[in-house]
């Protein structure tokens, strides 16, 4: 059987485009404060913002620094601010975000160089919520059982890739250095609602402190920023309710 298929060009409108990038640069060895640099280059409309940065680095200015690894939205290396919104560079195409791009490091974490921010405060917040299964029963040599319904209870928050897009989009996080941030709460949620875990109360106590969930002002920036589509604000609300009603 032979059928005719259309070419990608006919169906997807891949074309060459002129891209204008305005990137916030900062080199701590030279600069006193950040400054803007502009770059013009030709790309395909199907290229990602990450491709654009790689092209700048490879062909125009090798001193530009940014993190990248998997390049398809699962490793969480390349959260950045693109035209004012937190996104991953590798899952946003020129054809969807436009050819005139303003790129900055995410806010709320110290900038080290160009788009590279200090992730240590973020990971310290993550570690503070006991982000690992705590269960002192002895399951022996078999798996613990868990019903599909119990498994589904925390499915959404298992998707987190720790990119930091949520926390660094949060106005409270920007303003208040002690707020634990949405990402840490998401990772606490993942265990608080896991039927196998026995340390929900400890985590709820941590999140009930003044650095915890009550700082959240429900702006939904985090939910909009999450590249994995996690309902971050809803997870935070569930933790708030658990503190109020479920803590034993």
């Amino acid at each position: 059987m032979t059928t005719t298929v259309q070419t990608a060009e006919e169906t997807s409108l891949i074309k060459e485009v002129d891209v204008h990038l305005t990137i916030k640069r900062f080199n701590p060895e030279v600069d006193v404060r950040p400054h803007w640099r502009e770059y013009d280059l030709k790309l395909k409309s199907s290229d990602t913002v990450l491709n654009a940065l790689i092209a700048v680095k490879g062909t125009i200015d090798g001193t530009l620094s940014f993190r990248r690894s998997c390049a398809h939205g699962v490793c969480g290396s390349d959260a950045m601010m693109i035209n004012g919104e937190n996104r991953l560079g590798c899952v946003n195409l020129i054809s969807s975000v436009g050819t005139d791009l303003v790129i900055e490091p995410v806010r709320g974490l110290p900038v080290i160089k160009d788009l590279v921010v200090d992730m240590e405060p973020f990971f310290a917040q993550y570690r503070s919520v006991l982000p690992y299964l705590i269960a002192d029963d002895d399951p022996g040599y078999k798996e613990r059982y868990q019903s599909p319904e119990d498994r589904a209870r925390f499915d959404d928050t298992t998707k987190c890739i720790l990119c930091g897009a949520c926390s660094t989009s949060c106005p409270v996080y920007w303003a208040n250095g002690s707020y634990i941030g949405p990402a840490a709460i998401v990772n606490a949620h993942r265990f608080i609602f896991d039927s196998r875990d026995q340390a929900a109360n400890e985590r709820l106590d941590i999140l009930n402190q003044k650095s915890g969930v009550w700082r959240c002002r429900t702006s939904f920036n985090c939910t909009e920023a999450c590249p994995r589509g996690i309902k971050v604000t809803e997870a935070i609300e569930e933790v708030k309710r658990a503190i109020l009603y479920d803590r034993s």
């Binding site: 032979t2 059928t3 005719t4 298929v5 070419t7 990608a8 060009e9 169906t11 997807s12 409108l13 891949i14 080199n27 701590p28 060895e29 030279v30 199907s46 990602t48 680095k57 490879g58 062909t59 200015d61 090798g62 001193t63 620094s65 690894s69 998997c70 390049a71 398809h72 939205g73 699962v74 490793c75 969480g76 290396s77 899952v91 195409l93 080290i112 160089k113 590279v116 992730m119 990971f123 570690r127 982000p131 690992y132 299964l133 040599y141 078999k142 798996e143 019903s147 599909p148 498994r151 925390f154 499915d155 298992t158 998707k159 890739i161 720790l162 265990f191 896991d194 196998r196 875990d197």
Partner: protein, 583 residues
Amino acid sequence: MNIHYHSYDAVIVGAGGAGLRAALETAGNVRTAVITKLYPTRSHTGAAQGGMCAALSNVEEDYWEWHAFDTVKGSDYLGDQDAIDIMCREAIDAVIDLEHFGLPFSRTPEGKIDQRRFGGHTRNHGEAPVRRACYAADRTGHMILQTLYQQCVAADVNFFNEFQVFDVLFDGEGASRRAAGVVAYELATGDLHVFTSKGVLFATGGYGRIFQITSNAHTLTGDGPGVLFHRGIPLEDMEFYQFHPTGIYGIGILLTEGARGEGGILRNGLGERFMERVAPTVKDLAPRDMVARAIHAEIKEGRGAGPDKDYVYLDLTHLPPEQIDAKLPDISGFVRTYLGLEPKTDPIPIQPTAHYAMGGIPTNVHGEVVIDANNTVLPGLYAAGECACVSVHGANRLGTNSLLDINVFGRRGGRAMAEYVKEVDHPDLPRSVVDPTRERIDAMMHSSGSEKVGAIRSELQVAMMRDASVVRTGESLQDALRVIHELRDRYEKVTIDDKGSVFNYDLTEALELGSLLDIAEVLVLGADARKESRGAHWRDDFPTRDDVNWMKHTLAYRDESGAIALDYKPVVQGRYEPMERKY
């Protein structure tokens, strides 16, 4: 340049699945440092989707011996059967361990770990597909990476994040040398760190970035094999490199075999279902190596699609839209994001994508690195995961066996290293061990040549894709070798823009390129020498498997002058006799 000195019992290089699993065996037991050029959760284990096979028999009858048979057959009889037995037997423990660590497996209605079918995994020696793959939705690798990292946080593992290892240290000379540490470059400061240790385990992952189209992360540049090869450690079976048939055109992101399992069809530029000609019975569900070769042939013979006729289509348009939504949501998302196409109505441009290295640093079943055809152990040196070659995958890896490999041999390597370091003294090294790395970095920082890293790298990737990928000939491999030698000369004249010491990826990419060139050369030399076709290594000029002359592992050595020599060692045979590989 500031230089810092650290002393540990054990150093683990790389923090993907294998490195983290090893760390869980050593941390809290012996003083351990885990060094990664990324953050652990950025490692490429997180990109794996399908599952991890183990004969749990949770949903239907299964035995680890059946799993072993499938793995041996899948390896095209180049896998070592002692190691394969161990992997398939310990698979069950490895899955249970992960569940106890908190991994959120998908569950059966009664709450057990669910299992599903996967390519090449069968009941009773090939009778029918078997449900053997334990999985967590289509994010199994992500869950494994997160879970192992969580356990490392619980165990307070000492991580050195964004430290890149550029040298391995030895104590003693020649036959009496033992591993004694590594030298790492700190990305945030440009400082060098000398880690002296009694044991060193490499778990640096793959090197798909020698190819133009790959499912691998930008960071998979063969750092571990590159460093060890430079220090005279051989590399094993490097000519066996798996291409997954269906990568997104131009990008290489994987579209799972499940798309064809659901009824997807491969079509060439003329709209023909070419797999009907190639594999009349199983058609589009032929084994990975066969499908990748068929796609290659369509493109080479001018029946590809697109302006350059360099891809074919994965066509899902005849499937019910609700089936695509229910069964293939993730790959549909990738297609929409990266191609702007709708898989329900548009055929998807695909091409084979460089996916997995079967070869690597030779080890025994304890993760100990072995350095010759007699399997002589180099004390204190270990490797696990994709960078290692045990060999459990032989000439062709079965789907899911990579997630299994990192767990089983990460654990074994970590345990063996923890025991070893308790028995030996701490090495005593002069401060000058840092000099070769410092000189290399200094030279690159002060380079003033005319060549750019990006240009050399992309020319290498294009040449390897064209001449040394799915289908090879003596002639194409000679062409590749010529290009590599030319690029090597140009690499001597490479220069970088960034002369700073803070997050200087310009520098690290330049040094990584050195490893990519080494690995590409070893791959091509091994492939040129191997005058047969086996698993992922296909020679158009020698299109059959030759068990009489070639059922043996390749070992490639580099001498002081940089010349590369090949040697061979026998495959470990077992209960499964070689036979023709038909499915």
